[in-house]
Symmetry: C2
DNA sequence: AAAAAAATGCAACTTAGTTGCAAATTCTGC
DNA sequence: GCAGAATTTGCAACTAAGTTGCATTTTTTT
């Protein structure tokens, strides 16, 4: 990780009152640099020389989710994918598109969805998530 | 299962060109009678006297999904929940609401969501799914 | 620099879902 | 209805994402 990225992740962790540790800086750095949500295994793959234990990565992700720096974006094939929260609003992230042919997932930041309306009285909606399925440009046509 | 339900599930299975077997009739009957998506374990719980092997239920669900009688509604705690497809359109089911306090899930059949628009050129959207989170009437307030 | 607080790594575990195969059930053509 | 083909079922063993307990190491505080 570059010095710049190091100080950026360090600042975010400090603001969140989390210990600035190697595993947290590395994990957060990978997520901030990714244009799509990543699983624990995909994050681990990005670490050179040694890397971190999967348990540590899972616990790191849990702590980042708890303070709101990271979101659990979606489950794909029974595996959680995480993304940095910096481009998500309080009540909804951009939709995620998964290609049913090749399995790739994309962040649909251009697609705007209105918040759900018309729920029965008594229900309080705090967050909504939209998943899209279909063919990506490479697999369509 | 009542005689009426038996003949109804049998008809649906025949139309779908599936063998009408005890496990399929029972599974489909349970899903048709449920007002919310169910997991394999929840379906198995509804079977009296003996029931069926979990492998058979999983394979039954796979066959019902393949012919379109049943949908994989959503993953909750890494567990798939299935629902009969009779009230879903081709491109989207009703949103599903999960209470973050008690964990219960509800079908929000009253909530209408427009199909996503504005995706980058080349993407073909075939289905969309909306998940809602918040407090149910029992847990809010 | 020492003590306190928290993170890390390891091994063992949990659990939803899957696979291969033999036995049982359902369907097809007579 | 009945024999044979096609398909489903149950069982045991397996897979893999994620979790837990605990001893060790790192980070922070004073």
């Amino acid at each position: 990780m570059s010095d710049h990225a190091h100080s950026e992740t360090e600042r975010l962790l400090r603001e969140a009152r989390l210990y600035s540790t190697a595993c947290r800086r590395a994990t957060l750095g990978v997520l901030l640099g990714s244009d799509r949500p990543l699983s624990q295994a995909q994050i681990a793959d990005q670490f050179r020389d040694g890397g971190f234990n999967k348990v540590s990565i899972y616990r790191t992700l849990a702590s980042l989710v708890e303070v709101g720096l990271v979101h659990k974006a979606f489950l794909h094939k029974r595996t959680w994918h995480f993304e940095a929260a910096h481009r998500c609003s309080q009540t909804q992230c951009h939709p995620h598109f998964t290609c049913t042919r090749c399995g790739a997932t994309f962040c649909m930041t251009e697609v705007r969805m209105p918040m759900a309306q018309g729920q029965p009285r008594g229900f309080v909606i705090l967050r909504q998530q939209v998943r899209l399925e279909g063919y990506c440009p490479g697999c369509a046509g």
